[in-house]
Amino acid sequence: MSDDIILRIVGKFLIPLVVVFALYVQFHGEYGPGGGFQAGVILGAALILYRLLFGDAAARKAVSPRWLRLQAAVGVLLYGGTGVAGILLQGQFLEYNVLLTDPINGQHLGIILIELGVLLTVSATITALAYTFSADSEEHLSDPQVDASSQSDQLRS
């Protein structure tokens, strides 16, 4: 959480650009370098930057940890589901040719779907790692016992 006005203004200006660049890397992956993994880490870095500049509460309001968990799971399911759809359409697992009548179009659709799955999972996991590891460090330093007991409560529940 930064009180520096220059960082905040520059961040406000930069973060949308980084997000758009992540989407560019995602959707331009057919032609240029990049794809789901690269777009995912860039998007995750944008969210982490937002969290650094505007604080934990604002970041949790924008993207809640619960949403991140859901997003990560949906990404894997989308990827796996695309594979299973190939089986259901009398092909093999992750065989995109059978997704549409034209095999080339089927390949395009399959690649777009699985890259979207990669983007969802990677960006959610990267962001959630930063949330988890950087949370509440002041409390950890000041009151380790309370925190340890609350963590064990969390583990039990």
Partner: protein, 187 residues
Amino acid sequence: MISEVIDVALLAMLWIISLQVIFTRSELTAIMVFGAFSLICAGLFLAMGAADVAFTEAAVGAGVSTLLMLNALRRCGTDRCNSSRRGVIDIRALALTGVTGAALIWGTRDLPGVGLADNPVHLHVAPRYLQASFDEIGIPNVVTSVLASYRGFDTFGEVVVVFTAGLGVWLILGSGKRNDGKADEDE
């Protein structure tokens, strides 16, 4: 010619940064310098034509992992590593590092040259991918064809690994904040 100059300049910077990491007295400086190390590595990957890898290295190596290290340092405190053994050279560690480094350098003599077309790695399935991928997949970027279609199953495994890593962190550490435990209870 110009690419050799760039390579040598980047490698020289890597060398300087490594020395800086070894000889610095502050953990904070070491972490920041490691971030710069990753950024130079990203530049090296770019010089080798691997822009995808450079993206990932810049975002994960220089950005996210530097942040994770800084958080670890903030939790552990900066004073616990100030040992009195500074300036003492451990002969065993020096010998081990020296022998390992010499073995690695000796091992590079057997490696094929960088970027040669007749290297073993380029003679297996790569020619088939390069020639057939545009007719079979229909997209110009062969890297994407291989990753997403020919080797889609491997990429699925990678995504599952990333997801599993996140899942492990969530299960062991929680999602980071105490009031998030309340959100968990209604599940």
